[in-house]
Amino acid sequence: MLPVDLVHSRRQKDRLVVTPLGERLDRAREIATELVQIAEAHVGRTREELETAWRALDVPAREIRLRDGLIALIEDALDLDGRADVDAVALRAEVFSRATARRRSEATFDRDAILAELAQEKGTTVEAIEADLYADLRGAQVLRAAVDRTGAPIALVPGGAAAIVEGYDLSQAQSVLLRATRVVVTLSETPALALRSLLRKLKFHRLLFAAERAAERTVLTIDGPSALFESTTRYGLALAIALPSVLACVPERIEADLRWGKERLPLRYVIEPPSPLLAERRAIESGLPDEVEAVIEKLRAKSERFEISVADVLLDIPGVGLTVPDLTLREKKTKRVVHVEVLGHWSRDAVWKRVELAEKGLPEPVLFCASERLRVSEAVLPETTGASLYMYKGALSASVILERAERLLAQAAAPKKKRARSV
């Protein structure tokens, strides 16, 4: 990730404006190409030599930050390691203990004589001893050639200069989010898979969100548990890591509250069109869970009554939660639907939350599927709630899903306690 101080930004009232590469794209490619070439010419040499060579690449003052940012990203991709041929720790112990002994026992302290004596004993030179003394420091690390698993040489920087430049704007945005206290994402017509991927990412990083629906849009406010008590950048790294998943939802707008600079100035950072980060629909990170993939064709093969499709709805009950079903079973004759969400075996807590969700009233029938390993009784969720719990052993059964879906539709005529929103 780009160090925060290398982000190309300026303040505009209460906004932090980050300058994308934009018109500097070609220039960035030129600089990155030169930097990668310099790195390639420094394989086998030290980090200090490489960094000196990089900094010697003369660019106009206005491009220094760009050059240094590209250096940081390229350096991240390189394999720099300590010298294996020198045991610097042992050498230091030997040199320094001998020097102490001499200092105590002789009339004067003769540094050169001590080093010369050691060099002679080791069959080397004083210069070599001096060079090896701190060969394990960061600056003395050596740039290694890149190889694949079989040992065959590969590109030193994966994807070359082009990949570095391509990732530059995303890196800038992620670095800014390191200083974020919360992020507000405005979504519309979001692909369910992308949203599911985002929610999983948020959960994994222990982020929390509040979902609100305004007109045709869903607004997610993302921060962490203790953000309720104080504005903290504690979740900045998690928010930065979640950014690619947020972008995969193709949001209309991303708004981050920041504490910027040493003074921790409250600023706002906005990503909105025509930001290059929103320019194109990105690949969705993860597809359907394996167990859902496995059952979907079986459902299609077995069912005459239902059309089976990947779900594209979002079920939200304010104050309770939001969930994204995996599949939708649509009755061909009536067009009534039953959604299926597979919770798998990862969280018993998630099952209880769904029970709570169903008790508050779901807009459409949902069948929740969870592994028996979670040790929850199916009885905790009576079908009169408009939802059902299917605790499966091993793999999901298409027959059971279809049978439960039919029962839920039969129950659907019963009056609801409270309607929630389907987004």
């Binding site: 003052a61 206005r62 220094i64 930050r65 720790v89 230091r92 112990a93 040199v95 320094f96 203990s97 020097a99 102490t100 200092r103 105590r104 302290f109 540094r111 001590i114 080093l115 001096e130 003394l133 701190y134 420091l137 960061r138 222990r206 929390l208 969100f209 509040a210 962490g224 548990p225 203790s226 309720l228 008590f229 903290t232 950048t233 504690r234 600079g261 040493k262 003074e263 921790r264 304010p318 104050g319 309770v320 939660g321 209880w352 029970v355 709570e356 905790v380």
Partner: protein
């Protein structure tokens, strides 16, 4: 769902306390910071309000299930005990009187660690010790292992082993207490003046420990955030200064201020470089006394050739002041004079530290030195393999170097705390020990002013 699930439950969740199952509309009987979180439809409080929350729930006779607490009672106290010094007993009594939550201020070498051992013994709860460096973690680990005769956990430095007695760094505590914050009933914050920084403070907030002990020689911070210690740990419950304990419980000492001069040629170069630097900051109206002065200088200096020259000039004049040849000659003389002693040399930066190591052939300890080598170097200093060790900042605080009796401050910042801590490194009492601190300053340079600022403490004005 079972009946038990219907009882309100208190759960530790990512550094906070979640109280589930209370009706949202109930008239709030809870502490001010326990509020309804609409994101999860539960009440939420910062983890460090655990004790207050429990008291409030019990006062209101609200039945609940406490699933938050995951700490245990220790099976036994210390197997090795020694008679505390009078002020250590006073400190413990004051801490207990404050419900086991407060800060004890004692000078380096006065045995703060023993106060912590007494506190652990008193409360007998799973305990986490948080220290600023890996050296200190190692030191605490060894001390607790030998005192309590049980395996001690370590979190940090590549290890993640959590036990009823565990030691960690502030960096790791900040990262991990979000998950481990309910596993300890007592937390000892060593060198607790580090805690009030914006990030480290979360380590205290994410923990439920009702008992907290802060230890430091110098709670005061340049940014004034020491006032947060009361909320994060508790009030200052006991305080003693170096001058009150010197002689009886700390080694007698003397501080020697040495001025060295630049040669005529160096002086000319110093003045010329300083003029270039000064001219740039004057032209750009940068006030270095302003908290933003330095960052403004860095920013502006990168934007033009003039600026880059000014930065080079700044570095050169600083190098001339910090590493003046006359200064290094004096260091050589002191190393020779004290070749039978144990000396610690202090520098302001790593580059000077390594330069002195190479020039005088003495071991260096910086943040880059791996813990195994650091331990070997400190052992070598103790057993006489080495007569001196040079360090930049890592030995400023905490690390126990009981045999060191000479400190040579080659360069440093204007921080009073840093200077007092450096003195503290050589004050641990030994029979007949007399400690000497030399401060070598290049005369008529910016270093003279820096030196004046850092000596503004009673320990230097005896």
């Amino acid at each position: 769902m079972t009946d038990a699930a219907k009882l309100p439950t208190l759960v530790f969740r990512a550094g906070t306390l979640e109280l589930e199952g209370l009706p949202a509309s109930m008239p709030s009987p809870l502490p001010e910071r326990c509020v309804l979180d609409p994101r999860t439809a539960s009440f939420r409080a910062p983890a460090n309000d655990y004790a207050d929350l429990l008291r409030a729930l019990r006062d209101k006779k609200i039945e609940f299930e406490d699933r938050a607490r995951a700490y245990t009672e220790l099976t036994h106290g210390p197997l090795v005990s020694r008679e505390p010094r009078p002020y250590q007993s006073e400190a413990l009594a004051a801490w207990k009187k404050a419900r086991g939550a407060g800060v004890v201020v004692l000078p380096t070498g006065a045995g703060k660690t023993h106060v912590a051992v007494m506190a652990i013994d008193d409360k007998r709860r799973s305990t986490l010790v948080v220290a600023p460096t890996l050296d200190l973690v190692r030191q605490w680990h060894d001390l607790l292992a030998s005192t309590f005769a049980q395996p001690i956990g370590i979190v940090g430095g590549g290890e993640h082993d959590v036990r009823p007695l565990t030691v960690t760094t502030y960096d790791s505590a900040y990262l991990h207490l979000e998950n481990l914050g309910n596993r300890f009933g007592l937390i000892v914050f060593d060198e607790c003046h580090h805690l009030p920084s914006a990030t480290y403070a979360l380590a205290a907030r994410h923990a439920i420990a009702p008992f907290r002990l802060g230890l430091t020689a110098t709670p005061e911070r340049m940014d004034g955030r020491e006032s947060l210690l009361e909320d994060l740990i508790g009030p200052t419950v006991y305080r003693r200064d170096i001058v009150e304990l010197a002689g009886d419980y700390l080694a007698e000492y003397e501080t020697v201020h040495v001025s060295v001069s630049l040669s005529e040629e160096e002086r000319r170069e110093y003045e010329a470089e300083r003029a270039i630097y000064r001219s740039f900051i004057t032209r750009n109206a940068i006030r270095m006394s302003d908290p933003k002065g330095w960052s403004t200088f860095i920013m502006l200096s990168a934007r033009s050739a003039d600026g880059r020259r000014a930065m080079a000039a700044y570095r050169r004049q600083r190098e001339l002041a910090f590493s003046a040849p006359a200064k290094l000659d004096y260091v050589a003389r002191l190393l020779w004079e004290h070749r039978q002693d144990r000396a610690l040399l202090f520098t302001q930066d790593n580059a000077t530290c390594y330069a002195l190591s190479k020039r005088f052939l003495i071991p260096a300890i910086t943040h880059q030195t791996k813990i195994k080598e650091r331990s070997a170097i400190l052992r070598g200093l103790a057993d006489g393999t080495y007569c001196a060790v040079v360090t930049s900042k890592v030995l400023n605080e905490g690390v126990d170097v009981p045999d060191a009796n000479v400190a040579i401050v080659v360069s440093g910042s204007g921080s009073v705390r840093e200077h007092v801590q450096r003195l503290g490194r050589i004050l641990r009492k030994r029979d007949g020990k007399f400690a000497l601190l030399y401060e070598i300053v290049t005369d008529q340079t910016s270093e003279s002013y820096t030196s004046e600022r850092r000596r503004d403490h009673a320990a230097y004005n005896r």
